[in-house]
């Protein structure tokens, strides 16, 4: 068994491998983000019996590049009445937590290279899940500051709505994950993927994925995360019809593009985390990263599908759902899981 590559046994190789891993993950996420916008328009188009973008390239395949260029060359307007520093900081504060969360997601088995074992994961934190929750908490700032600093009442309303929504659903999504690490007995995402290998304890023809032993937690996590990243049907903060895009009303050019990228980056991150926690991570018939990508794409398609079919919920329904349905369900799930885990020991 070759030793694990670390900073103590081969510094240049370690740094090189880290750089390659970070670059690869970053590029893949950026590519998915760019093409998710195209897929979203195409899928929703076909679901509504339209064609979606067709003009730029074959079936509109160059559309994301055209959109990116357009936004890049647009005039960057900062309203005179805006508070400058938070106004400029806000788009970055929303994008950065989305991207750095992906660092703890394992995307493949260990590979052996130059006589060292290299884990296919940027960083194996032993508090991986808490790190994800912490970064999700930081995501609120971008939206709140964008809403406040624009000095526009629609933006402020959007910002307040979204922070209330994110804080409420963060609780339900976070509590639903607790049941997972009660089963896996570890907070490290790598450990959770390892705990899901092998057949299911009751039905041996099924894999031991936590979606089978924790279906309620899975549902709560997916719906809670959808609400946390402000996707339909929980996209009240940017409700076009009543708030004229909410917190990003005053943004233009690349700053607006950053909000857009953050939304899709968050979708990728949530999909990757849901796949890791509930669907066995990189486990599957193909090579690790490909399995994970398939699962991520499946989730992304599901989120787009929801957007095409589901109407937006009302604000009071949203709060009711978060505090009076999801939170008690998540707490009950923890208690039941605790009893079952104790009973099995």
């Amino acid at each position: 068994m070759p030793e694990v590559l670390s900073l103590s046994n081969n510094v240049p190789l370690f740094l090189a491998s880290m750089l390659v891993k970070i670059l690869a993950v970053f590029v893949v996420v950026i590519l998915i983000v760019a093409y998710a916008t195209w897929v979203e328009r195409k899928v929703i188009g076909h679901m509504q019996t339209r064609l979606g973008p067709m003009q730029t390239g074959w079936h509109g395949l160059l559309q994301p590049i055209a959109d990116g260029l357009k936004l890049f060359f647009k005039e960057d307007i900062i309203p005179t009445e805006a508070t400058k520093v938070p106004f400029v900081l806000a788009p970055m504060m929303i994008l950065v937590p989305a991207f750095i969360t992906i660092a703890v997601v394992p995307f493949g088995p260990d590979v052996t290279l130059f006589g060292y074992t290299i884990p296919l994961q940027i960083s194996d934190l032993n508090v991986g899940i808490l790190y994800i929750l912490a970064m999700a908490g930081l995501g609120v700032y971008g939206i709140v500051l964008a809403g406040w600093s624009s000095n526009n009442k629609y933006s402020l309303l959007g910002g307040i709505r979204s922070s209330a929504q994110m804080v409420s659903y963060e609780l339900a999504a976070g509590l639903s994950i607790i049941a997972i690490f009660m089963l896996s007995q570890t907070l490290s995402l790598r450990g959770i993927v390892e705990a899901q290998t092998g057949p299911h304890p009751l039905f041996s023809f099924l894999p031991n994925w936590y979606i089978l032993s924790q279906p309620l937690a899975f549902g709560l996590f997916v719906i809670g995360s959808l609400a946390e990243i402000n996707r339909t049907p929980f996209d009240l903060p940017e409700a076009e019809t009543e708030l004229v895009s909410g917190f990003c009303t005053e943004y233009s050019s690349m700053k607006y593009a950053l909000f857009f990228m953050a939304e899709y980056a968050n979708m990728v991150v949530i999909s990757a985390i849901a796949a890791t926690l509930f669907l066995g991570g990189w486990a599957g018939p193909f090579f690790g990263p490909i399995n994970l990508l398939i699962k991520v794409f499946a989730f992304m398609f599901f989120f787009i599908w929801i957007r095409a079919t589901w109407p937006r919920v009302r604000y009071d329904q949203l709060m009711y759902l978060g505090w009076k349905v999801f939170l008690p369900l998540a707490l009950a799930n923890i208690v039941v899981t605790g009893i079952v885990v104790l009973g099995m020991q």
Partner: protein, 167 residues
């Protein structure tokens, strides 16, 4: 290497700490405070306490400062009128010096006594810092833990009562 990193993070922590008190707009102060908390979390990671780091960011940066920003936003506090009187500056300086002396005194007195508990660095690396905290919270410190929970519950009920129009 690690020392250099420490000084870098410490510099950011101190600078953002100074910004918290010198910024004119309360929102900028709040953002600087978040930055200070993130630096503190980095120190926890360097001290092999990743659990503390994550909780620091979750609770302070993710919840408490969001609440503070909420209040600032809803009350629409603009640039505060600075009232600087010579009395308050003198008083603050005096208090600062006293606290600095106290801190140096305490540090010099207790850090070198060499008393050691059951938790050794080896135990932290083999068993894990999170497990150790969890175990001692639910065994040795169960009563204080429960009392803290009840205190928080009381606070929640208080908030509900205050927010309700007719009780």
């Amino acid at each position: 290497m690690e020392l250099l990193f420490f000084y870098l993070v410490a510099l950011v922590a101190v600078v953002s700490g100074i910004l918290v008190v010198t910024c004119k707009s309360p929102v900028n102060s709040a953002i600087s405070l978040v930055m200070t908390f993130v630096c503190l979390a980095t120190f926890y990671v360097m001290l092999q306490a990743p659990f503390m780091a994550a909780i620091q960011i979750m609770v302070y940066a993710g919840a408490i400062i969001v609440l503070i920003i909420f209040v600032i936003m809803l009350l629409n506090l603009g640039t505060a009128v600075m009232k600087k009187t010579s009395h308050s500056i003198a008083g603050a300086a005096l208090l600062g010096v006293i606290m600095l002396l106290q801190a140096t005194y305490v540090l010099n007195r207790s850090a070198v006594t060499g008393t050691q508990g059951d938790i050794t660095p080896d135990l932290v690396t083999t068993m894990g810092h999170t497990e150790l905290i969890g175990r001692s919270l639910f065994t040795d410190f169960l009563l204080p833990f429960e009392i803290a929970s009840i205190l928080l519950l009381v606070a929640i009920i208080g908030a509900v009562v205050l927010a309700k129009k007719d009780v």
